[in-house]
């Protein structure tokens, strides 16, 4: 796998968005900014509430860009005829997938940076290593999940409602915009099954908001979940593209 090939393929993927710029603009800029404005308005100057909401913002923005957009891109790539047209290109199957991940990661930098800058402005003390750990775990969960969804559905029109449903589910089933600390035990237990809850907990710990749950457990749980997803992806693609195409 060559860096030059990856670089060229990433640029090639990014150029695709010139035709779908309203889609790109709405998901990667308009939607995060809308969230941000609502967060700022609702917190009414309460810095802790703002920090709680901003960590949720980072998680949900990650969903939009790393899961929603990437899964759609992968599903499109893995449509039979599209994948066939990629067979012409002198790039390996993994180079195609990785270049698409890199393209999405680059797209995500702007809204993520906006969130982080606001977070920095309102937080007196940020634990940078923990923040990086949280962001890495977010990336490590969303990316294989997006690939898994994309290659399983292989049709962006069929995938779209599934992603919308997943989005609604994650907003409710992840304590993105509320505190885990103040909810009932049964609901809390259910939320802790969701690995994204643990990502939120790590991010919150980084900005000094604690949810009363052991951080080490959250990190280990997230790593294990991400590893499981990666293993599933590798299993699904064990023989290359044909293992996906075979399933008619």
């Amino acid at each position: 796998m060559g860096f030059s090939t990856l670089f060229k393929s990433t640029i090639f993927t990014l150029k695709m968005y010139r035709l779908y710029w309203p889609y790109l603009l709405s998901i990667s800029i308009m939607m995060p900014i809308t969230y941000l404005i609502i967060i700022l308005a609702i917190s009414q100057g309460d810095l802790e509430a703002l920090r709680v909401a901003l960590t949720g913002y980072i998680t949900i923005t990650g969903f939009n860009i790393l899961l929603y957009m990437l899964a759609t891109l992968i599903a499109n790539t893995f449509e039979e005829q599209v994948l066939e047209s990629y067979a012409l290109l002198p790039v390996s199957f993994w180079e195609i997938v990785i270049s698409q991940i890199l393209a999405q990661a680059l797209i995500g930098i702007i809204p993520l940076a906006v969130g982080l800058v606001v977070l920095k402005c309102i937080s007196s003390n940020i634990n940078i290593p923990l923040l990086i750990t949280g962001l890495t775990l977010e990336f490590a969960i969303y990316t294989p999940l997006a690939i898994l969804l994309g290659i399983s559905v292989r049709n962006r029109i069929r995938l779209d409602p599934l992603l919308v449903f997943l989005m609604m589910f994650i907003v409710i089933a992840t304590p993105s915009y509320y505190r885990l600390l103040y909810i009932g035990d049964i609901y809390k237990t259910l939320l802790l099954i969701n690995p994204l809850t643990h990502v939120v907990l790590v991010l919150r710990s980084a900005v000094g908001v604690y949810e009363g749950f052991p951080l080490v457990f959250s990190i280990i749980y997230s790593i294990l979940f991400s590893t499981l997803l990666c293993v599933l992806v590798l299993y699904k693609l064990r023989g290359g593209a044909f293992t996906v195409l075979e399933k008619r």
């Binding site: 060229k8 090639f12 290359g240 593209a241």
Partner: protein, 298 residues
């Protein structure tokens, strides 16, 4: 001659139980142009996808340049250039952008990109986005990309489908040049004229099996059909002495083994029947006709 592609008794059954290929054996040697013909749904594209390693045979063996194309995808991508059947290109990329991208990844010099785009009449539309191209231009672009990528084996899945006759001729002339350069090609086609012009050997597939193999193009040169639309076809049957004549209401069909025989009868018609209100069509046989003939022979 070295065997470039060996497909040996390959059967492909999809997980849903569809038998796309049954005991298919095909060979292509270096510098040879092999054609795979057959009606829709015969399993041609499945076969081609197995040859480039996009699908895995259920049983049987495929070797391309001596390697298993599924296991050695990296090698196959270097050695094989391929154009898919459907004119799906990159809608948001300019013609030149895609061409340069493929060229850079394949270490093809820009001069070659320009040469190919000019040859295929795409240089003038090099700044157009993929979605702005006509279907014919998209097919030309797919061929251009395959030629830019280059490779010792060119696999073309219905390269001229959706393409008008002028662009077809353009593509044929470019492919004939490739043939002269000694390029090995496998062409899936429905077009008899295309096969005549380009191919050395023809495999005919029907219902997933190889129904026949024509080592000589004279085999498919046989069979020309003349259709004469005329009010009273019974009155002119005597003018078609060299063919097998069938008369329908308002239509006479004469089938010939050789084109020359049809031309002689048409000359006869021209001398004796031109004062009549007659419309004449001369057609090469369809794929279905060839398939039928093969089965009748058996």
């Amino acid at each position: 001659m070295r065997e470039v592609v060996v497909v040996d008794r390959v059967t492909k059954i999809y997980p849903n139980g569809v038998k796309a290929n049954i005991e298919v054996s095909v060979r292509a040697c270096s510098s040879e142009v092999v054609c795979i013909m057959g009606p829709n749904g015969a399993g041609k594209t499945t076969l081609v996808r197995q040859i480039i390693g996009l699908l895995k045979p259920t049983s049987g063996v495929i070797r391309v340049f001596g390697v298993d194309p599924v296991k050695r995808q990296d090698y196959i991508k270097k050695k094989v250039a391929y154009t898919p059947q459907l004119p799906l290109t990159y809608p948001a990329h300019r013609v030149l952008e895609v061409s340069k991208y493929v060229a850079e990844l394949s270490n093809t010099p820009f001069e070659r990109v320009k040469e190919v785009l000019e040859e295929l009449d795409l240089w003038s539309v090099r700044d157009r986005l993929g979605y702005q191209l006509s279907i014919g231009q998209r097919k030309l672009l797919l061929l251009a990309l395959a030629l830019i990528k280059s490779g010792d084996l060119l696999i073309l899945d219905e390269p001229t489908t959706f393409v008008d006759i002028f662009k077809k001729r353009l593509m044929w002339s470019v492919l004939l040049e490739e043939r002269k350069r000694g390029k090995t090609m496998i062409i899936v086609s429905h077009d008899i004229e295309e096969v005549r012009r380009l191919c050395d050997r023809v495999y005919i597939m029907v219902a997933g099996r190889i129904a026949g193999k024509l080592d000589s193009l004279s085999d498919i040169s046989r069979g020309v059909e003349v259709k004469v639309y005329y009010e009273k076809p019974g009155e002119i049957t005597h003018l078609f002495k060299r063919g097998v004549v069938k008369v329908y209401e308002g239509l006479l069909i004469a089938e010939y083994n050789q084109l020359i025989e049809a031309l002689e009868d048409l000359e006869n018609l021209a001398i004796n029947g031109l004062n009549r209100d007659i419309r004449v069509l001369l057609e090469y046989p369809s794929v279905e006709y060839i398939v039928e003939s093969l089965f009748n022979k058996r």
